[in-house]
Symmetry: C3
Subunit: 187 residues, 3 copies
């Protein structure tokens, strides 16, 4: 958890939470993804990974990122080898998001790496990085909250909403998601 | 909770739940929002609020409503000063929806102000207004159910699903959402 | 629950889970729905049902399927008389999905008839058919998991996430969804 470094600090009066540079960068990024990647057919994963890297993401060449994925800012994104980010997944990486090797982020999943300070009357933004370990599975439509770390091989079931750290091999389900059993991964 | 005033009353056989006037009005509204607002860049909040007011909504000039918000019928909408309705929020206001001063409805949140009578074999629609108090926060992807009132400063966590009224300063989380603690808002 | 019959079997290395024939068929289907149905106005239910049938779905002529519904493969779909599938519903029928007579699948609901074997390091796809009985209601934004059967007249509340079979007349709510009471349907 780290405080925001930017700007006018009165978001409820319309003040910007991010610097002008950040906002310009995101406009350019949005246009780039729309024109270079959004319409590309599913197999062109290598191309889309190159586009992400061009804008500052650290993405392994063997990662697969679908065309309908939304990324807030590529500079805040790290994706490992053979990881998969499915159709319609939202990587809301105002804070940094790291996705491990062979991890799977299924369709419609939502990783949200920021929150607001609800004690502050100005409702300041708070950035909280998310880390998804190797061989994790964030299933369809699931939600990973700000600051959450999922240890290697842990699983969040479909539509699960995770606000706590997941232990290695743990299978979590529900809203709020709870540990229901341990994964028996065959070697 | 009030019964519906309209139409043929056999929705399961395709009967319309709303009058012809209501349906025409909504077609015009959909076309208007698409052509006048849906494509506008984020900062044009004042313009989008004017469009909403033109179609009967009561919206403060300082409110901010993003372009990708969906509103079922502007005539059933009231939004207070400095309130914010974020990207992709759905205001399904078949019943009236009121959003208080400085309240924040985050991206992807869903306010659903109607239901169906599940005892009725014809499955009649039921309209149940929603009220969101001042300085409330409905966080990302959360759902506020039919007939729910959130008292001032209450919070519904991300992906929370609220079927009961929220008390003032209450923080609710989960599905179904439950009170987890009280908000300590600094003055 | 039946194992998948197709292909290369190393999805984490990019191997396809489905045969070339299946994939070509789905491309044609996607183009067909986009050009023939996706833009059609709400009342044209009969036409959209014809399009579905043309591609192998078993759909009663009196069923109603909205234009923004997504269907993975029409050949894996059965919809009974007077059933309704609302705007934005997702029928992810990698396994077969059956929707009974007069059943209502509300807007944004998600029926997901497949999963992955989390014990398998290759993460094989598993197909698990879904059956929704007569007069059931899957309310707005709810999720029906792989292999689930909802008996006649059962109800899944808005945003409910159902991983177990629902008994006849049962009303389920929450994530994971639990039985909260029985429906008193007037005759």
């Amino acid at each position: 958890m780290k405080p925001l470094e930017a700007a006018s600090r009165r978001p409820l009066e319309g003040g910007a939470s991010f610097s002008l540079g950040n906002r310009l960068c995101r406009i350019i990024w949005a246009v780039a993804w729309l024109t270079l990647a959004r319409w590309t057919p599913p197999p062109l994963h290598r191309w889309r990974c190159s586009v992400l890297r061009l804008f500052g993401a650290r993405v392994a060449p063997t990662a697969r990122v679908h065309a309908s994925v939304s990324v807030w800012l590529p500079a805040n994104l790290t994706i490992g080898p053979n990881a998969l980010v499915g159709p319609g997944a939202r990587l809301y990486n105002q804070g940094h998001i790291t996705i491990g090797e062979r991890a799977v982020i299924s369709q419609g999943a939502y990783l949200c790496a920021s929150s607001h300070d609800i004690r502050d009357p100005h409702f300041q933004l708070i950035l909280k990085p998310i880390e998804i370990g190797d061989q994790c599975w964030v299933a369809a439509d699931a939600f990973v909250g700000p600051g959450v770390t999922m240890a290697d091989r842990s699983v969040l079931a479909a539509r699960g909403v995770l606000f706590v750290n997941a232990q290695a091999d743990g299978i979590y389900r529900g809203n709020p998601a709870e540990l229901i059993k341990l994964r028996q991964l065959q070697v």
